[in-house]
């Protein structure tokens, strides 16, 4: 059975894979949107943050002892975030706060140095590492640019990417690494990816759903739901929204705007690592990873620069457009041209994107 001249199952396959890879795109887009929402900076370095985050995850996931100094630095970052970046409920006493922070600190240190559960160690270590990375980038490169023209911040994030590339090269080199996190152990004792879900005899062929992509998609959806709830119901989330709305006003009513910006960068760092890990688990972690973020920029604009829901929809649409484009026109059109054609169309037809706020700069 053909759909517009292509075998139906192939089209369906394209649809499914498109949506699922779109989930990873959406996560990447979310990281970019969060920074843009909080500080009005479009982070061109996001792809490189992904690369660094993914490699951090890989490092922690290896069955090797961690140098205590690394654990110390990372739990130090946690300590810093918990004691300055977070607003605790007013009902908490000072003692309660100190106790909470100490317990969290000790627990992270323990996990990093002692646990046998590599996945847990990798998650904790990467989250802390990339949060620290986000904080450092914000503090060292973005904050000094307050009140500089847009052009300067664009340039800055582009260049931060260069530096991160240098750091990853220096530390990890450019060997490709496989990251089998969604895997069981097979008869030989090797990690083996979960078998794909096969649906036979649909529209004239077999349609396959890749399990790791499905899991990645699920995690992406969960992360999105988490963020929507976070922005809606937590104090920190609310103050981020307020800051995004009007930084001066937020400052005037006593919100710690700088802390909010820093937290946004930290969150974006964690999201970058998450996206990189999910992507890496389905192929490999390679030095070319930042190129993936480039293809997600159209998704961000399509959804709207400041819209979290938009990032999700944008990611899915770009994922779909790529795969369907490949099915119908071949991969040179699908993957290399379509995202950017979508970008041009969005800019001409509806620059604010599908869900973006209308207050964009217009001529």
């Amino acid at each position: 059975m053909d759909i517009f001249g292509q075998p139906g199952f192939a089209v369906l396959q394209g649809l499914i894979t498109g949506v699922l890879t779109g989930g990873i795109y959406a996560l990447i887009a979310l990281g970019i949107v969060i920074i843009n929402k909080a500080s009005g900076v479009f982070n061109f370095a996001h792809g490189y943050m992904m690369l660094l985050g993914g490699l951090l995850f890989w490092t922690f996931f290896q069955n090797q002892q961690l140098a205590p100094i690394v654990a110390f630095a990372l739990s130090g970052a946690l300590l810093a975030i918990l004691s300055t970046g977070v607003r605790y409920p007013a009902t908490w006493t000072r003692g309660g706060r100190v106790a909470f922070i100490s317990v969290a600190w000790a627990a992270s240190g323990f996990i990093l140095l002692q646990t046998d559960n590599l996945l847990l160690r990798a998650i904790v270590g990467t989250a802390l590492g990339t949060a620290l990375l986000g904080l450092l980038i914000e503090r060292l490169t973005i904050r000094p640019l307050i009140s500089q023209p847009l052009f300067t911040t664009v340039m800055m994030t582009l260049v931060v990417g260069e530096v991160l590339l240098g750091v990853t090269q220096l530390t990890w080199g450019s060997v490709e690494r496989s990251l089998p996190i969604f895997a069981t152990t097979n008869a030989l004792g090797l990690p083996q990816a979960y078998p794909p879900i096969r649906i036979r005899d649909v529209l004239g062929g077999t349609v396959v759903i890749k399990t790791e992509l499905l899991i990645a998609f699920g995690i992406a959806v969960a992360a999105f739901t988490g963020f929507v709830l976070f922005f809606r119901y937590t104090r920190l989330g609310l103050s981020m929204r307020a800051t995004a709305e009007n930084a001066d006003l937020a400052q005037a009513v006593g919100l710690r705007v700088r802390a909010v910006l820093a937290v946004a960068w930290a969150i974006a760092g964690v999201l970058a690592a998450l996206a990189a890990t999910l992507h890496g688990s389905s192929t490999a972690l390679a030095i070319t990873l930042p190129g993936l973020a480039l293809r997600v920029f159209p998704a961000v604009l399509l959804g709207g620069l400041e819209s979290i829901g938009g990032a999700f929809v944008g990611g899915l649409v770009i994922g779909l457009a790529e795969k369907l484009g490949t099915v119908y026109f071949g991969s040179d059109v699908g993957e290399q041209l379509i995202p950017f054609v979508v970008l041009m169309i969005v800019l001409v037809v509806r620059p604010s994107g599908l869900f973006g706020e209308k207050r964009i700069e217009r001529v």
Binding site: F151, V160, V163, G166, W172, Q336, L347, V348, V363
Partner: protein, 368 residues
């Protein structure tokens, strides 16, 4: 900035005199001296006719590339620095110029005809990608040019492959002048003179009607409109001029490299051109001179110079570093750190510092 500070003892008696680029003896000597050194450089190297070994022959190549990049960066300066529009697609417009030049020359057209035609064509392509500036500006416009940076190489790779060899490089025939092949020394002078002319043209545009319209748009586009300036038309004009410069640079690159491929004109090249502009000082006519020189010399002379030392010492300082990786890591690291330092310490760039220096020099000893 400097226009209102005149060195004492210099009085302009005619408007013509006042409009000169080099208005003082000091400026004139400096410019002439600078130009003289540049023109003499290849004669002082081992490969020159006199066999004097004062200048590293490798440095001549660096100067050639500086000349080419300066043209591209000056175009960018007109669009970004003077008109205030961001573009991330300058390398793609260079690609259009380079490929058009090469294709025309392969078709038997003389280089001297092909180059201007290619530049103009590149300008037209620039105009097309400037069209979104009717509706969007600032960051959104930057994104449109980012799309150009991907769509143009795609066109070169795929539908235009019969003309361009697709992803593979396209050989470029040698350019000639009166039957004489342009290579070595003559290539050097062709590039330097082209660069010089481009700088003068840019300077002329800046100090006349178009330049004032560009600056009006950058500083306050609403007021510009009310002064009778068709803002959209002038933005397009800026895109056109910018891409013409890029096309010129691309065409020269084609005859210098004699082989071009789409990879040569990637996003990172565009970013580097922008970085050169910022370091030089966007919105100052000397920006390309400073920016391109600093980054090109950093990349081609300084970084290779320190790499061996780092290869020896870094693994000892940082135990996790493998010396094999240093070669690859060092260029992006140093490049990135230098540009970040510039963005934080002097976002207005070297040309701005230079102006300040010139003023305090002219006003010495009372520079307050």
């Amino acid at each position: 900035m400097s226009a209102n500070i005149r060195p004492s003892g210099v009085f302009d008696t005619t408007y013509t005199q006042e409009m000169r680029i080099n208005r003082t003896r000091f400026d004139q000597i400096l410019s002439a001296g600078f130009l003289g050194v540049i023109l003499l450089l290849p004669l002082l190297s081992r490969s020159g006719p006199f066999g004097i070994d004062l200048v590293q022959p490798g440095f001549i190549g660096t100067v050639e590339r500086i000349a080419i990049l300066m043209i591209a960066v000056q175009g960018l300066n007109l669009l970004v620095g003077y008109t205030g529009q961001i573009t991330l697609g300058q390398a793609a417009f260079m690609a259009v110029g380079a490929y058009s030049t090469a294709i025309l020359m392969r078709g038997g057209v003389s280089f001297w005809v092909a180059l201007p035609l290619a530049s103009l064509f590149s300008g037209v392509v620039g105009l097309i990608f400037g069209l979104p500036s009717l509706r969007v500006k600032g960051f959104y416009l930057a994104m449109a040019t980012l799309a150009a940076q991907f769509i143009i190489p795609w066109l070169l790779r795929n539908p235009l492959a019969p003309l361009t060899n697709g992803s593979s490089p396209l050989p470029v025939p040698r350019a000639d002048l009166f039957g004489q092949e342009i290579s070595g020394l003559s290539l050097y002078y062709v590039l330097i003179i082209a660069c010089l002319l481009a700088m003068i043209v840019a300077r002329n545009l800046i100090r006349t009607r178009t330049g004032r319209a560009f600056v009006s748009i950058r500083d306050n586009d609403v007021a510009a409109e009310l002064l009778g300036i068709n803002v959209f038309a002038y933005k397009l004009r800026a895109f056109f001029v910018c891409a013409v410069f890029a096309g010129l640079a691309g065409g020269l690159l084609a005859i210098e490299a004699r082989s071009i491929s789409p990879d040569r004109f990637d996003l990172r090249t565009s970013i580097e051109l922008l970085a050169m502009l910022i370091i030089g000082g966007a919105g100052f006519s000397q920006a390309p001179i400073f920016g391109v020189s600093v980054l090109a010399i950093l990349r081609e002379t300084l970084i290779p110079g320190i790499t061996p030392t780092l290869q020896e010492w870094l693994p000892r300082l940082l135990p996790f570093v493998d010396s094999v990786n240093i070669n690859a890591a060092i260029a992006p690291l140093i490049f990135g750190v230098v540009i970040i330092a510039f963005l934080i310490i002097e976002p207005r760039g070297l040309a701005y510092r230079w102006e300040i220096f010139k003023i305090s020099w002219k006003l010495r000893p009372f520079s307050y």
